[in-house]
């Protein structure tokens, strides 16, 4: 047993479990109490994740906050959590999105208790996935974070919710049909009979052939969840069907699980497979970027617009990962964080408008900035961030990725940049048609967002700007993990 001081990471998980248990024992009529309880516990989780983020010793680097317990010795399963420069940004992201997601759903009516209970389970899985360093637990958390999606979308969702929920559920779990055999294959084929990621990372644990094979399993398995083209089809349907905060968590955090899985499992454990398949990854990622932009152009439903922009932005993450360079990896991790915050903000601000107008079709809206200037402001800020305007976190992430992509894959990089410019144009068009122009008189008397309800958006904007103005707060941290990793990777 190995514990370095207070188990902060497990405490984050425990705060979710405790939240879940407390919610289960609250009578279901006490809806406000349920909301306060989930807010309180998500606040604890957020505070702990901020603490872990800040307390991580950047000079020392490596794996910190390590918690290691033998779990099933005969099979080599351990309870093994740790934090490094790769997962800390994502743990922080989960904390923020969870907290703001609960604030966003403050006005939820109907089956409140169940909703927040399922959200607790979902977030528990996400936190666990990011911090776990044992493949068995990694897989457990992966599925724990996915199965609540079905009830969450099917019960509280909107457009074609049952279809969307089922499609999403079966698609992402189909990924696990590749991941589980892959994990067991690694443990057995390496001859080590352990699921410990650190142990399996030793060079020479797996032959190049095994790495290529296993990499493909993980790349497709996690790639489905990461929205890698052509496995992305569940994602727009699912995003559109989901209720606001679930869209936030889903696009903001869950898709990162897929990308992070590619990083933590596929790239970490099968670096030679990574090198071998990188050109394929680059091509798929670029297609994803371009495809997302062009399909997004034709959408009239705002949620579809955001969903396809997610496909495109996740393509940037994929492109960064496919460069096999330190900058590319850094940019990819930063983009995971930035895109998480940005999409959460987009869905969150759209959620308010939809709650009031009951429409998210662009032609039905129009002139919203004069009806609800503040609510519109949040959306416009998020849209600007999505275009990669300097001053927002996403700018730095995209720049880092594109610079390294241009070096490694000049043609693909250039194509991707062109597509991004185009996406800026269409985002501007969406903003113009939705928020400016003639006002739809039906919605003229709707109230603007109050401070309390606007709070989650304020937090998200603040985070975007903070890391946009001081990108080194995060870049340095990511570098502490990327540089040793790439250094150990013989080129």
């Amino acid at each position: 047993m190995e514990l370095a001081g207070f188990p902060y990471l497990s405490a984050i998980l425990l705060s979710c479990v405790a939240g879940l248990l407390v919610i289960l024992f609250i009578p279901r009529e006490r809806e406000t109490l349920v909301k306060w309880v989930s807010l309180a516990f998500s606040g604890i989780a957020l505070a702990l994740s901020i603490y872990v983020y800040c307390a991580y010793d950047r000079m020392q680097g490596g794996l910190q906050f390590v918690e290691k317990l033998p779990w099933v010795e005969p099979l080599g399963i351990q309870y093994f959590n740790g934090a490094d420069g790769f997962n800390l940004p994502l743990i922080l992201l989960t904390g923020i999105v969870h907290f703001t997601g609960i604030l966003t759903m403050w006005e939820l009516r109907g089956r409140v208790k169940e909703f927040f209970a399922f959200v607790c389970v979902l977030v528990l899985g996400v936190f666990g996935f990011f911090m776990s360093m044992d493949l068995f637990f990694l897989f457990v958390w992966f599925d724990v974070s996915l199965f609540p999606m079905y009830p969450l979308i099917a019960i509280w969702g909107t457009t074609r919710k049952e279809y969307g929920a089922l499609k999403l559920f079966l698609h992402v779990l189909a990924g696990s049909a590749l991941i589980l055999p892959g994990i067991v294959y690694l443990a057995v084929a390496s001859g080590l009979h352990t699921f410990d990621i650190v142990a399996l990372m030793q060079p020479g644990a797996l032959t190049p052939g095994q790495q290529r094979f296993a990499f493909l399993l993980f790349y497709i398995g996690f790639g489905i969840l990461a929205g890698v083209w052509p496995f992305h089809t569940w994602s727009p349907v699912g995003h559109v069907a989901a209720p606001t905060s679930v869209s936030m968590i889903h696009a903001g955090v869950l898709m990162k699980i897929g990308a992070f899985g590619i990083l933590r499992v596929a790239i970490f454990l099968c670096p030679l497979g990574w090198e071998y398949w990188a050109p394929v990854m680059a091509v798929l990622a670029t297609i994803g970027i371009i495809y997302g932009v062009f399909v997004g152009l034709t959408q009239t439903d705002l949620k579809y617009v955001i969903a396809y922009s997610s496909v495109s932005h996740m393509g940037i993450v994929g492109l960064g990962l496919s460069t096999v360079t330190a900058e590319g990896l850094t940019g990819a991790v930063f983009q995971m964080f930035a895109h998480g915050i940005m999409t959460a903000l987009l869905f969150s601000s759209l959620g308010y408008i939809y709650d009031k107008t009951h429409t998210k079709l662009i032609p039905d809206l129009g002139g919203m900035s004069r009806v609800m200037p503040v609510a519109s402001g949040y959306f416009i800020v998020a849209a600007l961030a999505g275009m990669g305007v300097p001053g927002f976190a996403s700018f730095w992430a995209e720049v880092t990725v594109f610079i390294s992509a241009l070096k490694v894959y000049p043609a693909l990089g250039a194509l991707a940049i062109c597509a991004l410019v185009l996406s800026a144009l269409y985002m501007l068009r969406v903003v113009q048609r939705t928020f400016y122009g003639p006002r739809n008189e039906r919605y003229a008397r709707l109230p603007d967002v109050s401070f309390g309800l606007g709070l989650p958006r304020i937090i998200l904007v603040a985070v975007m700007v903070l890391f946009g103005l001081f990108p080194r707060l995060m870049l340095d941290l990511i570098q502490t993990a990327v540089i040793p990793f790439m250094g150990g990777f013989s080129r």
Binding site: W71, F147, F169, V188
Partner: protein, 469 residues
């Protein structure tokens, strides 16, 4: 003191006798359920007390070891759990309740004898005791299609018995012995002999039938649907456990024969795929569980055909897992269909409002069947796949995982009915008695905890396998 190692068997014989006498009394004056609950609860205690006993009787034809005792524990637990469901035994006429408990206990007794049989004829006799009790239990239901189910079960059952007898005869002819401890030595060398190979395979058929493995699955859907809900619960839980145990015992005799593994792998693949694909279109919950049981027979066979200690231990773990997760589904069904009728999946509509606890239990149960962590069903599958991977059966594991994803579709339909659909007319809330609430909560905790903390259960399974090998 040698008789004491037969404690559980003697106890269950006594239980059966009690119900034999009760069945002769006037129906109105009896309290069958309370008696059964008390006796079955005590039965669990008795078998658990005997879990550490070891010994051999009847010149080695009957052996008591950790393997058999662990399974006897599981069987008595299954018996107890099924009796817990009988507080409202409305599917069966009042005057037949004693007979119901009588046959249930003789069936449990038969399966317990089976667990310890280490001689082929003893094994056959014990199996038939269990089988004939079940033949009587299936048509006990009042009204409906119980006769069709009963006849189907009986005819296909005796046909497989005949096959099995033929297999036993061939095994004896090839090896000149009926003792398993001698067979273990002789058989690995003999399996190149077609007679011995076919003999072993046909012997296994008897248990394939109990497990509802393809191609011996034909009875399952009609019998599951036709029998009373409690009988189906017993069929779906306790008998599966016994079948897995005997398959482990018999297959372990072959000492890693590759041809046998290939035949079993083919059966496992067909069984999983067939069960899952047909389950996709089912409307009746019990039929759905029947096809899901066919699929689960395939999964558990993967552990057995790996033919390594991890694989056998995984199969034992899987038996325990499927006992608990199948049971919780039946528990919910029995409570929802309180008048003992068959339940369509759509009739779970509105369950989340009628009884949040049962809806939660159903969610946990079907997701566990679907192999979603952190449940015991997932951990069982993980262990089974791990064992198969150690033998290099990558493709088998992949096919099994694809099957798992296919199966999620129909499991989700159940969740959807319980959480999403609204009934056409407003149905009253389901009121649960305190013991039922406790039982349900305990089962939920067991399923989740068994998935998260598999260590001790797995160590127990490994120890049981050590005793066997």
């Amino acid at each position: 003191m040698k008789g004491l190692i037969l404690g559980p068997e003697i106890y269950f014989l006594a239980v059966a006798t009690v119900f034999l006498f009760l069945s002769m009394m006037r129906p109105g004056a009896r309290r069958d359920f309370s008696v059964a609950l008390f006796l079955s609860g005590l039965g669990v205690a008795v078998t658990l007390a005997a879990v550490r006993m070891e010994g051999s009787l009847l010149h080695g034809a009957y052996r008591v070891d950790l393997f058999s005792q662990v399974f006897k524990g599981l069987l008595s637990l299954g018996f107890f759990l099924v009796v817990c469901l009988c507080s409202n035994l409305s599917g069966i006429q009042d005057e037949r309740h004693s007979e119901f408990y009588l046959f249930l206990s003789t069936c449990t007794l038969g399966m317990m004898l089976l667990m310890s049989s280490t001689e082929l004829l003893t094994l056959y006799v014990a199996l038939e005791l269990a089988s004939y009790s079940l033949y009587a239990l299936v048509p006990l239901r009042s009204g409906g299609q119980q006769m069709e189910a009963g006849i189907k079960y009986f005819l296909s059952g005796i046909a497989t018995s005949a096959l099995m007898l033929f297999g036993l005869a061939s095994l004896f002819a090839a090896s000149q012995t009926t003792y398993i401890d001698k067979l273990v030595v002789k058989l690995p060398g003999l399996l190149n002999n077609p007679m011995a190979f076919i003999g072993l395979l046909l012997t296994l058929c008897g248990f394939f039938f109990k497990l509802a493995l393809f191609p011996f699955h034909i009875w399952a859907p009609s019998v599951y649907q036709g029998a009373a809900n409690q009988v189906t619960a017993f069929l779906g839980t306790a008998t599966k456990v016994a079948a897995i145990a005997m398959l482990v015992r018999l297959v372990s005799m072959s000492d890693g024969n590759t041809s046998l593994a290939h035949v079993l792998a083919a059966l496992a693949i067909i069984s999983m795929t067939y069960g899952n694909l047909v389950a996709l279109v089912q409307k009746d919950f019990k039929r759905l569980l029947a096809y899901s049981a066919i699929a689960h027979a395939g999964y558990s066979l993967i552990g057995i055909l790996s033919m390594n200690p991890t694989g056998y231990a995984a199969a034992v773990f899987y038996a325990l897992a499927s006992l608990s997760m199948t049971f919780i589904c039946f528990l919910v069904m029995v409570k929802v269909a309180s008048d003992g009728r068959d339940l369509a999946i759509a009739q779970f509509a509105g369950l989340h409002r009628r009884s949040p606890l049962l809806a939660l239990a159903l969610l946990v149960g079907v997701f566990s069947l679907g192999g979603i962590p952190p449940t015991i069903g997932f951990t069982g599958k993980f262990l089974v796949f791990n064992a198969a991977m150690e033998k290099g059966y990558f493709l088998l594991v992949l096919i099994a995982m694809i099957n798992v994803v296919v199966s999620l579709y129909y499991y989700v339909q159940v969740v959807k009915a319980a959480f999403l659909l609204e009934p056409d007319e407003e149905l009253p809330a389901i009121s649960l008695s305190v013991p039922t609430i406790i039982l349900t909560a305990v089962m939920v905790v067991v399923i989740v905890a068994g998935g998260l903390f598999p260590r001790y259960l797995f160590q127990l399974a490994e120890a049981a396998i050590q005793a066997l090998l």
